[in-house]
């Protein structure tokens, strides 16, 4: 863990990950960008409303038999609702995104679908998506906007950033997300994770 200070208020910033590109000062809400070890203030961030689970930055837990610490969170909003992406760092140094939507968690990893898309507009609702030997179908196709973030994040975000996405599920306890970015459409394969398996460091369940 690396310690530094907020360039705005001087409060201590504990950076748990060497991959961190953006951190929000928990004290003053300043958005601090980290580039080549140089800190610069990008703006201010007001507090985010808690999620259904009550998961919080700095909490530790266990997922798939690996200990993790919650580093950051990004909230996205779409027409009918919102969801949160939690950024986790495991004790072995690996990092991942854990989605929380309507009270359920999904652990996502990058994946390669058999069909490549250049944009989300090419994806059809109900279309079958094959990832390896797994098949799912598209349940949702929408666009969302980043409405806030907190903690440490491995890439830069701006409030108002828009993403086009599609997501779906299959027979097994898995789901996928397709997200449009500058290089095309990237895919994540996720697994629904019962929160009961995510135990806090105090042993209590979130």
């Amino acid at each position: 863990m690396e310690s530094t200070n907020c360039p705005s208020c001087g409060a201590g910033l504990n950076l748990f990950s060497p991959l961190t590109k953006l951190v929000v000062c928990a004290h003053c809400g300043s958005i601090v960008s980290i580039r080549e070890d140089k800190l610069s203030i990008k703006g201010k961030q007001s507090g985010l409303a808690p999620t259904v689970s009550g998961l919080q930055i700095g909490q530790s837990g266990e997922l798939e038999k690996k200990r993790f610490t919650v580093l950051g969170r990004v909230r996205y909003k779409y027409d009918e609702g919102h969801w949160d992406e939690w950024h986790l760092r495991f004790n072995d140094g690996s990092e991942c995104w854990l989605s929380e939507d309507e009270g359920e968690f999904c652990l996502e990893q990058p994946a390669k679908p058999s069909k490549r898309f250049r944009s989300i507009s090419e994806v059809e609702l109900g279309e079958t998506i094959q990832i390896g030997s797994w098949n799912g179908s598209v349940d949702e196709k929408n666009s969302a906007e980043c409405v806030g973030f907190e903690g440490e994040l491995p890439e830069e975000f701006d409030v108002g950033d828009k993403i086009a996405y599609a997501e779906g599920s299959g027979d097994s306890n898995q789901m996928f997300t397709l997200e449009e970015d500058e290089g095309g459409v990237i895919c994540f394969l996720g697994k629904w994770v019962p929160l009961a398996t995510v135990t806090s460091n105090t042993g209590s369940k979130f």
Partner: protein
């Protein structure tokens, strides 16, 4: 939704309406996205701290028996009514969906239509076919269950109140498919952006009244609901099951009577028509038991003629104990190029001998032939055969009819119930 995780119930939160300043109590979890102000009907987006006004709902014109904040226990789960949406399909069908929140299991939808109720939960189980390929009465597999498509329609939100876990606007439209396997129902709902799947089951009015502690009874349900099960009282079920058991027994006995109940031959006497003018006596035959059922089988090779037999059953040492008559007649011909026949050269009659002993038959008779059919015809040969210990299957037939009455009545009721279940949808389907 066993892996659905919902935080313990938050304390009742209170926010101020951005439009009228009225207090709004929030009953759901942090998952709630929208709330309608009970005072002014403003719809507030509460997913962020800004609580933006996103529309206005005129509110429900009539109060429901389940108001926002009603608490109860449904299927063993404590829950609270936190929201309500009214949908309209065309101009004919209107239904309400109550959003129930339980800190224990999360959110459920209680659908209220024509005073019938269904409890729905979101599911990740998808159908084995694309929703667009499903049509009326087509079967669809979902997990281990098979459902039959009952309805494919589109609906519009017309009214909304309370809290919702998504942002619903008046006039939002959705396409929907309801597939049934009573008492279960599987629902697919979609719009241009999203497909959602729900699974649920029929809930009786008694469960609603008892679960929410309603003081008054609810209006009677109208018609048969798509996923309403056919229900009979336990006593009728038991009686019907007993009826099926007895029916099986009677069918078995009937089969046995037909196959093995013909009895054993005791005598067989042949004669000519001429013999019968003066009378014929059979050999003696023994009757071993009291109340022995016997059968006399008559045959005569009459052709376009009839023969009448008078039978006296005579006990050797006592005289006549019984008499009866039987006619054999058989006619054939050709009319309009087609041959026809009527009657039979063979007939039978059952009789009972009450006392054991030695018996014989005294047979007399006459016949007729020709267009006048006058008596005096004797040009035939005949015979009579007596069988002993015959089983009468008419009693089993009567027993079978009595035993089948209730089960068949139940089948009829169920058939009518199923007819009524599909009747309205068949009409709609024909209209389309």
């Amino acid at each position: 939704m066993s892996d659905s995780i919902i935080n313990p119930s938050p304390d009742l939160r209170r926010i101020a309406c951005q439009s009228c300043g009225g207090n709004i109590n929030l009953r759901g979890s942090n998952e709630v996205e929208m709330v309608v102000c009970g005072s002014c009907g403003s719809q507030l987006d509460i997913s962020s701290d800004e609580h933006k006004i996103i529309g206005k709902s005129e509110g429900f014109r009539s109060r429901s028996f389940l108001g926002i904040g009603s608490q109860g226990t449904l299927r063993g789960i404590k829950c609270e009514v936190i929201g309500r949406i009214r949908y309209r399909q065309d101009t004919l069908y209107v239904w309400d969906e109550f959003l129930l929140y339980s800190p224990e299991i999360g959110y459920r939808w209680l659908v209220w239509e024509n005073n019938h109720f269904t409890l729905l939960a979101p599911t990740k189980n998808k159908p084995n076919q694309k929703p667009s390929s499903l049509s009326y009465q087509k079967t669809v597999n979902v997990g281990n269950f098979t459902f039959t498509v009952f309805e494919k329609a589109s609906a519009e939100i017309t009214e909304v109140e309370g809290e919702l876990t998504w942002i619903a606007k008046i006039k939002d439209r959705m396409e929907m498919i309801d597939a049934i396997n009573p008492p279960q129902i599987y629902c697919i709902e979609w719009n241009s952006k999203e497909i959602e799947y729900f699974i649920g089951s029929y809930v009786t009015q008694e469960e609603i009244v008892k679960g929410f502690g309603l003081k008054q009874s609810l209006p009677s349900p109208i018609g048969v609901y798509p996923c309403q099960p056919f229900v009979t009282s336990p006593s009728v079920q038991a009686m019907s099951a007993t009826g099926w058991i007895f029916s099986s027994v009677f069918v078995f006995l009937l089969g046995w009577a037909i196959i093995a109940g013909g009895g054993s031959t005791v005598i067989s006497t042949s004669f000519s028509g001429q013999d019968l003018l003066t009378g014929v006596e059979s050999q003696e035959f023994p009757i071993l038991k009291a109340n022995t059922i016997c059968k006399a089988v008559f045959s005569a090779n009459v052709q376009n003629a009839w023969a009448w037999f008078d039978i006296d059953v005579v006990k050797t040492d006592e005289g006549e104990v019984l008499d009866f008559g039987e006619q054999v007649s058989y006619y054939t011909g050709v009319e309009g190029g087609e041959s026809w026949s009527e009657g039979s050269q063979r007939t039978s009659q059952v009789f009972k001998i009450t006392d054991p002993g030695q018996y014989k038959l005294k047979i007399t008779g006459t016949g007729g032939q020709g267009e006048s059919m006058q008596e005096g015809f004797t040009g035939y040969n005949g015979s009579i055969t007596i069988y002993r210990d015959v089983v009468l299957f008419r009693y089993f037939v009567c027993g079978l009819i009595v035993a089948l009455f209730l089960p068949l009545l139940q089948l009829l009721r169920k058939s009518l119930f199923e007819h009524n279940r599909w009747a309205s949808e068949e009409d709609d389907d024909e209209d389309e």
